[in-house]
Amino acid sequence: MSLSCNTDNRLAGPVGTTPIQFVSPPTGPPVPDIGATSFLEPGPATVPGYLAIARTHADAASESPTALARLAQAELSAGEVDAAVSAATAVLDLARGEVDPSAEFAAVQVLRAGGAAEKAREHIRDAPKTDEVGRSFRARLAIECGDLDKARLLVEDVTTFDGLFIGGWLAIRAAEYPRAIALFRQATRVAGPTPDVLTNTGYSYAALGHLQHAISATRQAQALAPHTRMIAFNLVSFYLAVGDYAAATRALEPLQQVFPDDVEIALALAHISLRASDRKGANKILQRARTSKSWATAPLVRRAELEANLALLRWFTGRHSLDAARKIVLDQLAITDYESLPMASLLPALLPKFSDRRLLETLLGRLEARHDEKALLFLRVHDAILRQDAEAAVSLAVEWAQSEPFNPVAAGLAIQLLGDLAGDREKAIELGRDAVTRAPGDSLLLNNLAYVLALSGKTREARVVLGKVTTPDVSPAVIATRGLIDLLGGDVSGGIAEYERAGELAVQQGKERVAQLAALNLDVALRRVDPGILNRLEIEVAPQFEIPSSSEDDPGIWLLATRAEHDGVAVSLSETAGADLPSPRRQ
């Protein structure tokens, strides 16, 4: 049985629902985030001494690019932005005749700070392309303009650290990971290992599926920059991908030492606990974070995410109903003015039915007003499912999986939709095999790949893939998939027994819908078994696959019914309201 829209082991936060990131070359001043737009206070009326000196020097040596560049820097430092821009422009005009890269570089930086980057870009376009430092700098500006092809041309064959780093970054953007690794290695040889280079090397390795190499590079990055969140969260994601929860928790320790009460770290820790099937532990971590000192000073979005996650956990543990959890999450989302995408990523789990379509459409509209369309692919896939638009759902799911190569949820969903809705199991297997190299420890992904492998007759490979799930006995879906593999592999009695065990476990866990799905899956799966074997075992299968009318609102049933149709099984709607769950009928 495959899982879709299942986020019962994922929380909204810095890991899990947020993609793994790589470091971009810095393109602006590293201004501290103060959470609000700032403005410059009026400066002193008198001319500062350093500015007076710079002006005197520029007057005395008006043909010296250095004098003008120093003047531009001094004017900017004194808050005289217009004068700074004019002095920097004069440097670039001079630089056309006489090459002084230092003055030119300083002038370009001043123009960027003064909001006149277009002038700098014009100059960059016209400037000669022989100098390596200038080329990497021009590449940086081209990146700022969004002209990645130009940037790539500029840093080709550049051997400075900056040029190599930008080249590697561009290679990541173009998904040329081996080239990126080579360039980052070269950059390391030039200037030694730096955290950013190591982080991006780790990212590239992970993208190629070499998770141990990725972990090794990212650990080195963390050793050099132990308090950098991105590095710590990337490392956590890599450890989660290989299923090493203890190491994932340890990766957050350097951050915890500096920020003991940090809400974001608490969210990451809770996510790890949940992935390790410790719901109570996750709940405890979030409760503690909610009463910590830094709770009061945490940004609104983080606090809202914490509230939403707590509501979700309470729903998982049966302390809240779905409606109550949904209300809290939607309220928190509205409080943050729909800013938090991690929180939005909880919506598919909270709006699982066809009847939730209208509400989802409204929310999607509000989120689209704040975020880029591509960032909302996860929600657009769910919207397409609720609209029962199979074609759109499949194409959006594949697009989502391709845009977030490290996201096992995206890959898992794409596998399921490709297999069930499009009937393209070969493509689903190809996508799944590729995704599993990047997240070999993700049970959802492994389960969905094993499921589609089994359906396409590759039961031996399916068994191997499913065998990699570290905690197979806690998930009804995994047990049901094992049943499917047994059933299609010839062990019909064993398969039925596993399906029944999955249903019982689902009931014990309070997941009635999952139990129903397991039973329906068995019903469909039995139709693929040789009738002779079924007769020998005295198992009777109805000629038509009947969908109980009570399940009409469930997308899971729609997916199953579509899959059954792809397999040539006749599907009908049971006329009996609230019909009993189908079960194998022994004669």
Binding site: P29, A52, T56, A69, P101, E132
Partner: protein, 364 residues
């Protein structure tokens, strides 16, 4: 000091001895003039507190502080020498015709031939040997100040004076300097942002994380010496080049509480190192090839965003940030490398001498 005030002093004789002849330049609170000692005919520089600033307590403290520090550092070979000081009574006619009297303090200093910044405007003409020798003098000047427990806090080429006789450079403008043995002159918050020029400021001051701790202030001087090294190579300011807009950073940091600023800076340390990388690339490009590696290593160490990394460690223990002997030695090594390279070039270009005939009885 504005042009009108400068005019007032031209032709004035201070204390019946120093005849002011020309205006040389102006600082935040004062103007500097060229004057002649009427008794010895020696040319001197006179630094006069502008009368607008003479009412400002901060300006007075800074001016008196500089006077006291110059007294303390008298005899240091690479710190500008104080010749004399005093107070001049300035008489100005008010609009009603009444005479208003101001007491304006002044300092008499040795006169330099110019400042390093002026030389760097055409730095291509300045050979590397001379640049490194000047840099060594200035490092030694800061070292001498440190030995007297004084931190400069505003080291830059504008504040580095160049002399032709004897040839060399001296550190000057001690207005922002502080004797760490003295009690604090300002409230603790005043030390967070330091006292120097933002274009050259170390990151900890842009994030307003400076302290009154003498070791921290000595580490600021180390960054500034690194920034001066960068200036000598490129002619421009490293902080502004690397961090683009120091004023914007400072403005944003001012809106955060101290703890948040410290946390932000700590988290950004490696990001800041990356931000400085293009500046290091530029510096490397400007350096002669035979000096590149050791010079870039030295610059990276001195301008490291982590203040504790600016001092070399010996057997796992950092040297005290006050002692700059190691830095002087490193510059000496660069000087020797440059001298060797120049000598090697000369040896290559020198016309070959005719070989002497071998003496009798000697092996050939």
């Amino acid at each position: 000091m504005d042009a009108a005030e400068q005019e007032i002093y031209i032709g004035v004789t201070l204390a019946g001895c120093y005849l002011i002849e020309a205006h040389l330049g102006s600082g935040n609170f004062s103007g500097v003039f060229r004057a002649t000692d009427q008794h010895t005919e020696r040319e001197v520089a006179v630094k006069i507190l502008s009368f607008r600033s003479s009412h400002s307590a901060d300006a007075r403290i800074e001016f008196d502080g500089e006077k006291a520090l110059l007294e303390l550092l008298s005899g240091c070979s690479h710190v500008v020498n104080r010749v004399d000081d005093g107070t001049h009574q300035l008489e100005l006619a008010a609009p009603g015709g009444a005479i208003v009297k101001f007491d304006v303090p002044y300092l008499v200093l040795e006169l330099a031939d110019g400042c390093l910044a002026e030389l760097l405007l055409n730095r291509a003409r300045l050979p590397w040997q001379a640049r490194l020798e000047l840099y060594r003098d200035l490092v030694k000047g800061v070292h001498q100040m440190h030995l007297s427990n004084v931190v400069h806090r505003d080291v830059k080429s504008d504040n580095s004076l160049v002399f032709s006789r004897p040839q060399g450079a001296k550190i000057a403008d001690l207005g922002r300097s502080k004797n760490t043995a003295d009690p604090s002159r300002f409230v603790a918050e005043a030390y967070e942002v330091g006292r120097g020029d933002l274009r050259f400021a170390p990151p900890e001051l842009l994030w307003k994380c400076g302290t009154e701790d003498p070791n921290d202030m000595a580490r600021v001087d180390l960054f500034l010496l690194g920034s001066l090294f960068f200036e000598i190579a490129t002619g421009v300011a490293i902080t502004q080049l690397a961090l683009i807009d120091p004023l914007a950073i400072l403005t944003a940091a001012s809106r955060l509480p101290r703890l948040a600023r410290e946390a932000d800076l700590r988290v950004r340390t490696h990001e800041l190192r990356e931000q400085f990388m293009p500046a290091y690339d530029l510096f490397e490009r400007e350096m002669p090839s035979h000096l590149r590696d050791p010079a870039v290593r030295l610059l990276r160490q001195l301008t490291d965003p982590d203040p504790t990394a600016r001092v070399p460690a010996f057997r796992q223990r950092s040297l005290p940030p006050w002692d700059l002997q190691w830095l002087i030695q490193k510059v000496d090594v660069l000087l020797k490398m440059e001298a060797y390279n120049t000598g090697a070039r000369r040896r290559i270009t020198r016309p070959t001498r005719r070989a002497r005939p071998a003496r009798k009885g000697t092996r050939t």
